[in-house]
Subunit: 198 residues, 2 copies
């Protein structure tokens, strides 16, 4: 709490967590869960991106800027850097266009070699890799469970602030509520019942 | 808290709140938000019903009984007795088939005369009216805001228990969280952005 006060981060900081649904067609639904910190869901957004496409950044920017919640959002949280298969989100561009800090959360350290190899099967490999690489430095963050850390990348915000926002909003598990709930909604709506995440 | 203990109702009682989406086609999406009391969303269910049809009861029973959460659900909460226009839910049948208590929540007292008049434009008027009428006695419940009571009907549970469950789960507003969140998800997913309710 002392750290939160020093950084002027409120417990109810408005966060938009974004996750995608299962890959069952060429169009993949993405869901935004607009949260007050790790406490309350205050809105739900929905958009579509192309499976293995290159439109995730633009579609997310549009979804956010068209939302009535846009002026209130203080942080955008992404569940990894690629959505709908290998549709990468350019977090530098997302931050620039929305003027909102972006935090990418990962459950484990990404394997860039495996990613590069998988990307070989898709067009625009170099462009995708460039977007993935520009997400920058990875930091480890301890949330609720010391033995189960998460990892973050961020843009438009200092890593220590991003760390604190991730910690404040991880009220129920080691994953921030905006991302945990966006995942439940995205999988539940598309599959008929929500599923857990490894 | 003393009342809750006397009735053996836990703060984290598992509740499934069900709401429908906007009427933009002949098929209407319904969403189930599986909650721990008024605290955490733990699952999302989805199904479809026919606008102004007579399949809401069967579709809700199927959605619940097929869910992995089925054995844990201790109360089903409905947002009014009709879904997808005038597709009425038979709460006696819903309770009997699932063996789970059913609580219907209303923001204001229903106007049965206006409802009867509207039903005149649909087939099976008498059948619909019978389902609506068998939902039984209406009780007033004060939740978070004394000046803004809600009203309930219930089946398979004593009104005083149902009242307590509604009160326990109304943590954020005068509407129980499972219903408030089911509404945000249903409207957000179908319309692209969630909407408030009058």
């Amino acid at each position: 709490m002392i750290i939160a006060k020093r950084f002027h981060i409120k417990d109810e900081i408005r966060i938009l967590g974004i996750d995608d649904s299962a890959l069952i067609s060429d169009t993949v639904t993405i869901v935004g869960a607009f949260f007050r910190g790790g406490l309350w869901l205050d809105g739900v957004l929905r958009s579509e991106i192309t499976r293995d496409g290159l439109d995730a950044t633009d579609r997310i920017i549009k979804m956010i800027c068209q939302s009535k919640h846009f002026p209130q959002i203080r942080a955008i949280m992404l569940d990894g850097i690629t959505y709908g298969g290998f549709n990468p989100v350019d977090i530098v561009c997302l931050n620039k266009e929305t003027n909102i800090p972006v935090i990418v959360l990962m459950r484990s350290l990404p394997n860039l070699e495996a990613m590069e190899s998988a990307l070989s099967f898709l067009p625009d490999k170099e462009k995708r890799l460039e977007i993935i690489k520009k997400a920058g430095t990875i930091s480890k963050v301890i949330t609720k469970d010391e033995s189960n850390p998460v990892f973050i990348q961020c843009c438009g915000i200092k890593p220590e602030f991003a760390t604190r926002i991730v910690q404040i909003s991880s009220t129920r598990s080691n994953i921030p509520e905006p991302l945990r709930v966006a995942h439940l909604i995205a999988t539940g709506i598309i599959l008929g019942e929500s599923r857990g995440k490894a």
